[in-house]
């Protein structure tokens, strides 16, 4: 796990960017930090309507995570249809955030929990159909190792260890 000072140092070096919610009325209960690529996807110049659409949806999903609003989380490998999921094998501690769109392919963003209620979104967005999950997990792990050498992510036993006590609609959690 990383300390607040270590996270701040990574932000100062522009290796991580803190996500500021668009929702100006929502409370701040958790934090998300993104890699430069994801920051550019969210805040950089848009490549067109498709990116506008996806990034609005990703921003909204991040905002919900940050504000502690109800969110569905899968804690077991066979569960589908949730918004956040811990990927299998669980010992790798890689999580995905799902961007859904009825008219377009779904996207996935991958990352790890640096501490309780602190998520690092590191790789993606990747089109769901193109995702080769073992490779995505490796990529995310490699990114983490380069970003925070010697640091481990959260290895939790319950959802509370990751999300804190705020409201989570859990699926398959112990």
């Amino acid at each position: 796990m990383l300390t607040a000072d270590e996270i701040k140092s990574l932000c100062d070096q522009n290796k991580l960017f803190k996500v500021i919610p668009n929702d100006w009325r929502a409370p701040i209960e958790r934090s998300i930090y993104v890699s430069p690529d994801l920051h550019n996807f969210l805040r950089g110049p848009s490549s067109g309507e498709s990116q506008d659409r996806y990034r609005s949806k990703l921003q909204r999903l991040f905002d919900r995570f940050i504000s502690g609003q109800a969110i569905t989380v899968a804690f077991a490998p066979h569960l589908m249809g949730t918004e956040i999921k811990r990927l299998s094998p669980r010992a790798r501690e890689v999580w995905e955030f799902k961007i859904r769109d009825k008219r377009r392919p779904q996207l996935r963003v991958f990352g790890r929990f640096a501490d309780a209620k602190i998520f690092f979104a590191l790789t993606g967005p990747e089109i769901r159909q193109n995702c080769h999950y073992p490779a995505e997990i490796n990529l995310c792990e490699d990114y983490w190792r380069k970003l925070a050498p010697g640091k481990t992510p959260v290895y939790g036993r319950t959802l509370r260890d990751y999300f804190g006590s705020t409201k989570i609609l859990s699926r398959g959690n112990p």
Binding site: I20, P21, N22, D23, W24, R25, A26, P27, E29, S46, E49, D52, R53, R55, S56, K57, Q59, R60, D63, R64, S67, G68, Q69, A70, T72, G81, T82, E83, R100, D101, K102, S165, T166, K167, L169, R171
Partner: protein, 208 residues
């Protein structure tokens, strides 16, 4: 309430009456859907606690499969206006109202926001005209009530029976219910604190 420069920039077109970018419109659609989704989940959790209602029971009530209910609950994007209505009716719940606030007023600092609330609820006492004769009459009534209460036997409990008196005592709120409402925004954009208080009060009233 502190608004960041990024949030101000995000709201710029809305506040300046300019055409609103598609990306902003999409964000607000998602936000609105999330609020309704949260309200429905909350209503379900309340009913599950009160009546031991399960997703399967709800599905049977509104002629759907458990899988369909699960899909609606899983992500806000699966909801439609029809499904929102069906779920709420199935839960035996009704939306009270759809309050709204001009966005520019949600950006106001706390003092200004308080002023806005005062304006909404009517003129303050200091500004309004007070009829002194009415006030004197109310004071007389109050004095009469105080005399009655002073003459009331001290050993007598409030109410007509000990059982009733017991039910009138305030019960400690359930920690679980409070956690449910803690630290979250209201489903339809109400003030967070107001909603939290309302939620707790409702829960207490239901328990009582």
């Amino acid at each position: 309430m502190t608004i960041s420069a990024q949030q101000k920039s995000f709201l710029a077109e809305i506040l300046e009456d300019r055409p609103i970018p598609e990306a902003t419109l999409i964000y607000f659609r998602e936000r609105f859907r999330d609020k309704l989704h949260s309200a429905i989940l909350e209503a379900f959790l309340i009913r599950a606690k009160e009546k031991n209602l399960k997703q399967q029971d709800l599905a049977a009530r509104i002629h759907r499969t458990k899988g369909q209910i699960s899909r609606w609950f899983n992500t806000p994007s699966n909801l439609t206006l029809d499904s929102i209505s069906d779920l709420m009716v199935g839960l035996g719940m009704d939306f009270d109202d759809f309050p709204y606030t001009p966005i520019e007023k949600t950006l106001a600092p706390k003092e200004e926001a308080a002023q806005v609330r005062t304006e909404k609820t009517g003129p303050s006492v200091s500004k309004s005209f007070i009829d002194t004769s009415v006030l004197a009459s109310k004071l007389n009534d109050l004095n009469a009530w105080i005399k009655i209460l002073e003459s009331w036997p001290t050993s007598r409990s409030v109410g007509t029976s000990p059982e009733l008196a017991e039910t009138m005592q305030s019960k400690p709120p359930s920690g679980k219910v409070i956690n449910l409402f803690k630290n979250r925004q209201g489903p339809l954009g109400q003030n967070r604190n107001t909603f939290q208080q309302t939620g707790e009060t409702n829960a207490q009233q239901k328990q009582a």
